[in-house]
């Protein structure tokens, strides 16, 4: 499969009163056609900022992309004109956001909002757009889609709204769907519905997906490949089974360990990661996870580890081999 998106050395900073916050610090990854990439991390680790930076959706000021490239089909999203990137947003790369409540404009009808990308990118007239929207709403499982076009967002339940949001993102048949914590605000049963829906649509439409989440459970059944972020860095990336089966970075290990599992027989004590995620007021010259790391060695305080290959297609940014507890050479 050819790579459809390549992000290289992306850096994003925010200017605040306290100083410049280094939110994303040289993130690189790539996405193949039809592939699902899961990006996992705690809040504030820079996962949302990464994709927002890519699509140039971070508010500026205070945010600013300071370095890097985001090549979409070979064209750099970060340097193209406003006009060009507008043609990509919503048409070829579209997004689904976390909170389906606030992500819809409360005063416009669903039909209007969902058809907007069609008007902009496909130049459809109102009638055509309406048909297409109704078709799309049916596809995401909204009952009586024709009648609901004139409804307002508040007339939908949370789950339904998220379905509409997905319909809106997919209405122009994009090549990439970016889902930014799309299920976090939903109940477990609804979450399952949404994950199911996306899976089905992916198989049907064949788009690539970047799925951002902090919940390692949700993504396990969905992703092909995973990237774990911490402090604005990708600290581990691997195919999904590899990552869950053989996590190598202490942070990934900790994350997996802190999750209780339904299928566990006994009651083990949860692994907790002490301390707090960092707020990076300067670009760290050491491993940002070192202050919370059980494995940290002297080197961790002096040198920020780059992503290093640990097995084919499995990369980890840690000086310590967590299986042996020894420092990598």
């Amino acid at each position: 499969m050819p790579e459809i998106l390549q992000v290289q050395g992306l850096e994003t900073q925010f200017r605040t009163r306290e100083g410049v916050i280094h939110a994303v610090n040289g993130v690189s990854f790539s996405l193949k056609e039809g592939e699902t990439l899961g990006i996992v991390g705690e809040s504030g680790c820079g996962k949302s900022v990464t994709v927002m930076s890519m699509l140039r959706l971070i508010p500026s000021p205070p945010g600013k992309v300071t370095a890097g490239k985001a090549l979409f089909q070979g064209r750099d999203l970060l340097t193209m004109s406003d006009e060009e990137i507008r043609h990509i947003r919503g048409a070829q790369i579209s997004m689904v956001f976390q909170d389906p409540m606030t992500s819809f404009n409360p005063v416009l009808t669903i039909g209007r909002q969902v058809s907007e990308p069609l008007e902009v990118h496909m130049g459809l007239n109102q009638k055509q757009a309406e048909d297409r929207v109704a078709e799309m709403l049916a596809k995401v499982g909204i009952p009586n889609p024709k009648d609901r076009l004139n409804n307002y967002p508040h007339q939908f339940s949370g789950g339904m709204r998220q379905r509409v949001m997905i319909a809106m993102a997919l209405v122009c048949n994009p090549q990439i769907l970016i889902a930014d914590e799309p299920t976090t605000a939903l109940d477990v049963t609804i979450q399952a519905q949404i994950v199911d829906l996306v899976k089905r649509l992916r198989d049907e439409l064949g788009m690539a997906i970047i799925w951002i989440t902090h919940d390692l459970g949700v993504i396990a059944g969905l992703a092909d490949r995973m990237a774990v972020m911490y402090g604005g860095f990708i600290i581990e990336t691997a195919p999904v089974r590899d990552l869950y089966g053989h996590p190598t970075h202490p942070y990934t290990i900790g994350l997996l360990g802190s999750l209780p599992r339904m299928d566990e027989a006994g009651s083990r004590r949860l692994v907790s990661i002490d301390g707090l995620p960092p707020v990076l007021l300067e670009k760290p010259t050491y491993c940002p996870f070192a202050p919370r790391c059980k494995y940290a060695v002297e080197r961790c305080w002096h040198e920020n580890p780059p992503l290093m290959q640990v097995s084919p297609d499995h990369y980890s940014a840690c000086w310590v081999d967590t299986e042996t507890g020894r420092e990598r050479s």
Binding site: T16, R17, D274, G275, L276, P278, L280, L281, E282, P284, Y286, P291, R292, A296, E298, W301
Partner: protein, 332 residues
């Protein structure tokens, strides 16, 4: 994480270290730092302090007795004009010129600051006290009490303020209250009566939203009494909006006093130079307005002072809002 310890400390030690290096800061202190970073608000504060100073030391600052009439020196132009449009030469002793009785406009303007300061603050204090308590009760207790307050506001909003002012001033003129502070006390009360309802409504709204916060439930859960919840928990947390609203109520009071003064209501003119309240900017504007063609300097100093003062309070109020309203944090 500015420092890089060379030894490997435990994570909690690091957290402690970073926390102990900064002094504890209440939200008030935070807000204060935000406030003093706001240039407009600081300018506003300086102006207010300046006028406060002028008001307190009016006796010492005024170059003349503000009641001293100077026969033959009426309508003198201000010092920077050689000859006024009325052909009279200026007198350096009267910097802002003189009014129709030959009284020093500068001195009168200085004394006028007192009324504006007091009329800005005192009714506001009454409004804040009454409005906060009623708003607190209505918001917290709800029910019929709340219902009555809300219905009462309908009536007050529909009610003609001016009629009320005029009639109160006229009917209570002869009473003890009417004479207190040259009639200012009555004015305070009238202003407060008309304005507390709006204030109560805002506090009520604030309380209604705070009431839903979990820390109020937490307080109930640990057995706090209603009074304690209202005054220890709800009030301090509504204080931000209350302060903002007070700062924005003050200029309203000053303008209202000016307008009432302009209509000839409010302050009773004093004849005793030892009185605290001798004249007000509103009354000075009233004097000046009739003579605006010939002697614009009569209306200029009080008009500019009123505008400056109101501007200062508005800037301060805006600054306070930015500093105290957490929702706006980060937008500046």
């Amino acid at each position: 994480m500015a420092t890089k310890p060379s030894v490997n400390p435990t994570p909690s030690q690091i957290a402690d270290l970073t926390m102990m290096t900064v002094k504890p800061r209440s939200l008030w202190v935070d807000a204060w730092y935000r406030l003093i970073r706001n240039k407009a608000a600081v300018a506003g504060m300086i102006v207010i302090i300046f006028f406060l100073f002028v008001a307190i030391f009016a006796n010492q600052l005024a170059p003349h007795n503000p009641l001293q009439t100077n026969a033959g020196k009426s309508f003198l132009p201000p010092a920077w004009m050689e000859v006024g449009p009325n052909g009279r030469p200026s007198d350096p002793a009267f910097f802002f010129g003189t009014d129709n009785l030959g009284r020093d406009v500068l001195s009168r303007t200085i004394y006028g600051a007192r009324v504006s300061i007091v009329v800005g603050f005192l009714p506001t204090i009454v409004i804040v006290l009454v409005g906060s308590v009623v708003g607190l009760l209505a918001g917290y207790k709800g029910g019929q009490f709340d219902n009555i307050l809300m219905r009462f506001t309908d009536v007050i909003y529909a009610f003609p303020d001016l009629l009320f002012f005029i009639i109160v001033m006229v009917t209570l003129r002869e009473t003890f209250i009417g004479k207190l502070l040259n009639g200012l006390f009555l004015l305070f009360m009238a202003l407060a009566i008309v304005n507390w309802v709006g204030f109560a409504r805002v506090v009520r709204g604030q309380v209604l939203s705070l009431k839903e916060k979990e820390f109020i439930e937490a307080a109930r859960c640990i057995g706090a009494s209603d009074a304690r919840i209202m005054f220890r928990h709800l009030l301090p947390n509504s204080l931000g909006p209350i302060i903002i609203l007070s700062a924005l109520t003050i200029p309203g009071m000053i303008i209202t006093e000016a307008i009432l003064g302009y209509l000839g209501l409010g302050l009773t003119p004093s004849t005793n130079p030892n009185d605290i309240f001798i004249t007000s900017w509103g009354a000075l504007m009233l004097d000046g307005q009739a003579a605006i063609n010939a002697q614009p300097w009569l209306i200029l100093p009080p008009a500019i002072c009123v505008s400056l003062m109101v501007l200062a309070f508005t800037f301060l109020g805006d600054g306070l809002r930015d500093a105290l309203d957490p929702r706006l944090q980060g937008t500046q």
